[in-house]
Symmetry: C2
Subunit: 231 residues, 2 copies
Amino acid sequence: MSHRQQQIDRFCSHLGYQFSNRQLIEKALTHRSASNHHNERLEFLGDAVLGMVIAKALFAKFPKVDEGQLSRMRSNLVKGKTLAVIAKEIELGDFIYLGEGELKSGGFRRASILADAFEAVIGAVYLDSGFDEANQLILKLYHKRLTELDPSEVTKDPKTRLQELLQSRRFSLPEYELLSVTGEAHEQTFEVVCVISEKSIKTVGTGSSRRNAEQLAAEKAFYELQKALAS
Amino acid sequence: MSHRQQQIDRFCSHLGYQFSNRQLIEKALTHRSASNHHNERLEFLGDAVLGMVIAKALFAKFPKVDEGQLSRMRSNLVKGKTLAVIAKEIELGDFIYLGEGELKSGGFRRASILADAFEAVIGAVYLDSGFDEANQLILKLYHKRLTELDPSEVTKDPKTRLQELLQSRRFSLPEYELLSVTGEAHEQTFEVVCVISEKSIKTVGTGSSRRNAEQLAAEKAFYELQKALAS
């Protein structure tokens, strides 16, 4: 058995999954800098499987939580930074096959390479044995994160977060004002300004509904307010 | 049988799917303007199911196409505009339950409301009978679009599209120059400028790889070039 094959076996036992088709996991661990048989197509597939599994899990776990909060929780759980952390937990970096240039520049530590390879591994498991196995593996790897999720804390919507930050500093509440509605009746764009008078902050958000526009304006205002409070 | 129930039956025969749990389809067709029991959570779920089904279908249909093209094809197939068109094909707008304000302003024609309700219907089918049925329904509704997809035509990457547009006008090819690399070795950001000298166009793209930065710069340059050629 070659060194590479031994490595792959070690990774599979870290992962807790044995492949029927070894070519799949070999490809999943191969970065484009190392070979033409690289992991990017598997990454595309794995991304979709992961997104679906996490959406399904959140939907079932939080029956009272609204769509905006579910979306934000999902974004947090599947963003590159989170994937790179999980990749490190299963020591994925030690097993990625990189080209020389990437090796020298420490590519095995780069968050984007780790995150992409993690998605590719998910894609490989899905192709190797179907949705149920991939689902089970993802839920195992995310177990702690899903168990500890608190939607009320982690993922307040921007307007709520802004309001709470203002209240904690005893500022008055923000004002939202509709600036314009453009477009035809069935395809309108709303433009809203959010004003925090004490700090002379004015931010504008646009969206396909007044609500979306307000949330976007609030998000920008939150960011501006944080900067103003820090300086 | 109430008028609403008759309507729902008519929609289900348009859709070609009969629900075991009628509450699911009733909720999927209810906009937030009409009731607290609205379709937004189902939309969240349906979005994930749809993304997965389309990714899987593209992955299988185009074994030689790279990840970037697969992603662009998927974006095209699941973007709001496409979903709204499919929603119109199954006459979804006639069956959405809207509040009075939305009714008056023609909400049943608004693309975002149609697209969201379409995703909610997918989510409802998934909950009603599982992934395989949802998969089958989506593939049926997308049949023509998937059959007619030509990755070489629809979804060239930005650098290729820019090059072809320039060649068709007998301009010289764009030049890409690396402006900066910042960040630590394993977390670098690349900044690239794309120059089209004949049109004095200079656009900058940033990304986690030089390749991504170039594609982004090319995309902006393509847009600028189109504007310049149109004026």
